[in-house]
C-alpha cells in the first residue's frame, strides 16, 4: 500500500487532483491503492479513520494561536506593549533576556 503522507503530498502538488471533486479524488486514490482511511476521508470528508491510521497525531487548538492580543501592560514584566518593531539588529539585547 502506498504511503498516505506521500499520497497527500502528491495530491497537494498536482493541479488536477488538488481541485478534483470528491468522487474523482476517491477514484484516483482507489486506483493508486491508497488506504481505505484516506479514500474515505477524500470521498466523504470524514477523517476519523485517517486519524486512527496516522496514530491520532493531533495538534491541540492553542497550537494554532501564535500571537497574543496583548503583551504586558507597562506595569507588568517588561512593558513591551508598544506596536511590534521590525527586528532591529541594534536593539539592546538585555531587554529580551529573561
Amino acid at each position: 500500500m502506498p504511503d498516505t503522507i506521500e499520497l497527500l503530498e502528491a495530491i497537494g502538488k498536482d493541479a488536477s487532483l488538488r481541485h478534483a471533486s470528491a468522487d474523482e479524488l476517491a477514484a484516483a486514490l482507489g486506483e493508486a491503492q491508497a488506504s481505505e482511511a484516506l479514500i474515505t476521508a477524500a470521498a466523504t470528508g470524514d477523517k476519523e479513520q485517517l486519524a486512527v491510521e496516522l496514530g491520532h497525531r493531533q495538534c491541540d487548538p492553542p497550537q494554532v494561536s501564535q500571537g497574543p492580543g496583548h503583551e504586558e501592560e507597562p506595569d507588568q514584566e517588561d512593558g513591551d506593549d508598544t506596536p511590534q518593531r521590525s527586528p532591529a539588529p541594534d536593539r539592546d539585547p538585555s531587554s529580551t533576556k529573561r
Binding site: I11, P62, G69
Partner: protein, 255 residues
C-alpha cells in the same frame, strides 16, 4: 497552508539544510509530513499548557531555539502559514539572534490571509482591508473603517486577557458583537472562513449575520471577515486641492 501545495522550494531547502528543525504547526499530519524532510524535527507543541499564558510559551519557544543557535547549530523554525503573520516568536527570535550577532532571517510563507483572498475572491486593495487580533480590538481603543474589509483573527479566543484559555464563550463574543455594532448593523453579513490544511479538504465558508456570531460553533482555526458596510465617501476637500494642483501643473507631465 495546505500540505503539499504551499511550501516554497526555498523554505523546503532551509528545512533540509538545517541541523535542527523546530515546528509549530496547526495540524499533526502536516507535522508528520515535515518529519519526512528532516531527521531532527522538534515539536513546539508540548510547551502549551492549559491555564499557562501563551506569552510564556512563546518566550520559551524563543529560548529553546536560541539555545541551539548559541550551540552553533543551524536552526530552522517552521511555523504554519506565514511565520511573520500573527505570530510572535518568529519575529522575536530573529531579533534576539541578530542582537547576539547571529545571522537570521525570515522566509515568507503562504498565510491563511493569502488563502482567504483567493478562496473568498477578495482584493484587499479594492476598498482597503484592516486586520486585527480579535482580543486586541476589545482591549484597546481602535478605529474601525467600515468602508473597507475587516479581518478578525483568533476570534475563538476573543477577550482572553489571561492568554491561558483554549477558547472563550458566547458572552465574550457578545462583547465583540456589541463593539462591532457601533460600525455595522446587526444583520450585516459576515464570513467565517477556514482554509484547507489537507489537500483532500475544501475551504469552509459560512455566512452569518453579525448578531449570530456568539451563537455559532467556532474553532481556533477560523478567521472572520466583515465585508464593507458603507460606500467609499468622496473626500471633496482633498479632491479640490488636487484639482488646484492639476490646474497649476497640468495633468500630462510630472511636476
Amino acid at each position: 497552508m495546505t500540505l503539499g501545495s504551499h511550501l516554497t522550494p526555498l523554505a523546503r531547502s532551509h528545512i533540509e539544510q538545517a541541523d535542527v528543525v523546530f515546528a509549530a504547526l496547526s495540524n499533526g499530519v502536516v507535522e508528520m509530513w515535515l518529519e519526512r524532510m528532516h531527521p531532527d524535527v522538534r515539536s513546539l507543541q508540548p510547551y502549551y499548557k492549559p491555564g499557562k499564558s501563551r506569552m510564556k510559551t512563546y518566550r520559551e519557544w524563543v529560548q529553546v531555539m536560541m539555545t541551539e543557535v548559541r550551540a552553533g547549530k543551524r536552526v530552522c523554525g517552521v511555523f504554519y502559514g506565514h511565520p511573520g503573520i500573527f505570530a510572535w516568536s518568529p519575529h522575536k527570535v530573529i531579533e534576539v539572534a541578530r542582537a547576539e550577532g547571529f545571522e537570521a532571517h525570515m522566509e515568507p510563507g503562504i498565510s491563511a490571509e493569502d488563502c482567504l483572498y483567493a478562496d473568498l475572491g477578495i482584493d484587499p486593495g479594492r476598498f482597503g482591508c484592516q486586520h486585527f487580533e480579535a482580543s486586541q480590538l476589545l482591549f484597546y481603543e481602535r478605529r474601525i473603517d467600515p468602508a473597507g474589509y475587516l479581518v478578525l483573527w483568533q476570534v475563538a479566543l476573543t477577550g482572553d486577557w489571561s492568554l491561558g484559555r483554549l477558547e472563550t464563550g458566547p458572552a465574550y463574543r457578545q462583547v465583540l458583537v456589541e463593539l462591532l455594532n457601533r460600525d455595522y448593523p446587526l444583520d450585516h453579513e459576515l464570513i467565517i472562513y477556514r482554509g484547507a490544511t489537507l489537500p483532500i479538504e475544501k475551504p469552509c465558508v459560512r455566512r452569518i449575520a453579525l448578531r449570530d456570531l456568539p451563537h455559532v460553533p467556532l474553532t481556533a482555526e477560523e478567521t472572520v471577515v466583515l465585508p464593507p458596510a458603507t460606500p467609499l465617501k468622496p473626500n471633496s476637500v482633498i479632491r479640490d486641492r488636487l484639482n488646484a494642483l492639476d490646474k497649476l501643473y497640468g495633468t500630462s507631465t510630472l511636476a
